[in-house]
Symmetry: C2
Amino acid sequence: MGSNHHILLDHGSGGEASQRFVKEFVLKFLSNPFLEKMDDSAELIIEGERWAFTTDSYVVDPIFFPGGDIGSLSVNGTVNDLSMQGARPLFLTLAFILEEGLPMEQLSAILESIAATADLAGVKIVAGDTKVVPRGHADKIFINTAGLGLIPPGIHVGVENARPGDCVLVSGSIGDHGLTILTQREGLRLQTPLRSDSAPLNKLVEALSPLGPQLHVLRDPTRGGVATALNEIAQRSAAGIRLHEDALPFKSGVLSAAEILGIDPLYAANEGIALVITAPDAADAALASLRLVPESRDARLIGEVTDELPGKVLLQTRVGGTRILPMLSGQQLPRIC
Amino acid sequence: MGSNHHILLDHGSGGEASQRFVKEFVLKFLSNPFLEKMDDSAELIIEGERWAFTTDSYVVDPIFFPGGDIGSLSVNGTVNDLSMQGARPLFLTLAFILEEGLPMEQLSAILESIAATADLAGVKIVAGDTKVVPRGHADKIFINTAGLGLIPPGIHVGVENARPGDCVLVSGSIGDHGLTILTQREGLRLQTPLRSDSAPLNKLVEALSPLGPQLHVLRDPTRGGVATALNEIAQRSAAGIRLHEDALPFKSGVLSAAEILGIDPLYAANEGIALVITAPDAADAALASLRLVPESRDARLIGEVTDELPGKVLLQTRVGGTRILPMLSGQQLPRIC
């Protein structure tokens, strides 16, 4: 049988292969208006209130890394999926799949981190589940969190809402999480050690709420990175996006690690930054609000939405040329989150 | 380090060790009124409406078995956790952890089964996630489903609500799922092959809704089986439960398999039956209602709640003696669901 008859690592990459897998395979069986939107969370209208409901499993390797661990990641990731729908995260469920033999002190550290992160984000963990599988049938610990949040009136964000003229902002430096995990996994020693950016984004979203309908798109560039997330926005909004290379915030350590590992940091996963797209008039106010929140004090303008090449992302390079930035395709970086 | 410093299979057994693990370890870190109840789902009060919110991961081995597969199990299991809270299951999330190399045709079959089961139960799958881990880091497929359901006014069930005099009913035959999985795993060939009872229980719960406040407890005896579930009810209600051995419905194939494998079917997992405890006056009406629903046509009275030995379950044997039926302790039956 050909490789197309089996699950490949790429099917979980968050890039083009993942998208195709969901669109052409999963949705063949499970099709409904909620899933067809292919958003990270579903919007449920209940008694006139809009709720966001989402799920994510976390399989990151290693389970402890500078800046976080699988516990903080599993809380932040789901808080962020809700936040990117414009919702205020309220309730989380927490499910463990544990490998027999996992040291209790590691589980203690993860639980401590979950509790602290949930406190920081202001969410309550309300239900849980624990399964244990025999040694060798899983790898230490996998976590699933599902989340429920309330979307305030007046907030209507969506990856399909970018309009030519809109401004593209990013809330912090790019590529930190992905490069941290990869340097840890490769045992790479850098002069300035990298740290994951893993953080809850709900405070940053709350700071943007005065923008109301001028806030068009929120998106956390996790698996597949900034380039893939912007491609999704461009495609779903049928608009072009132009990025300015000289405006992109990268830490120097991230750039060095990326060069050594041969990774483009625009495709590396982030776990604590948001892409924010606003109406042109609202960009200054958005930046000012973002910079008051610790998680987004380095927010900046990195590009604009255009009517050239709808569905594509163009990178305007430092020397003045442009190149198309495609969606992540065929890069195998498993277990990044 | 001693074994008490590592995760053991027992921590996921659903029995005494699982309970202790959650109570004495997990709740040390994550304590709030929702989790302290140790129910399978949380009750959230939102704008005056009562919602049930739950999560479960499924790691069953084998992934296909007579009567179901990991897909149908993952829908039914979460539908049932919501139903046992008295809720009408409405929305599910679905998250896959896939092992690289899983044949696509197996995933197709599982997705087909998920879609059919969700249709049957009348729930919508509204959000999802797919992670892929390298070969050897998981076992074929693990599924998490989280669920959201609405509790109708007038329904107030809880494992703490059993009162002396109440009647204990079971909606169908006992031990089918657990013994099916074990016979499959052991390659045991029986004259009459066993089938898992995996089924959604929400219709059965709807049929009971006219009972209103006379419906005291609903509980699906999954991991740990009927004996463990009844012990939880007895403990949480501070009441005794007396079971009549001659009233317990077992299929003859289940009894034979249980004898060969040395398993007490009262401790085997069930995935499509409910324990129903009602006020004494309401038992006949409950039985009549249950018997009109295909999933519970064989419902019957199996015991009563007493004021003798609060917190304990007594089995009145066929020959007229009694023995205490403890909670499951130390039996290692991993990956039963």
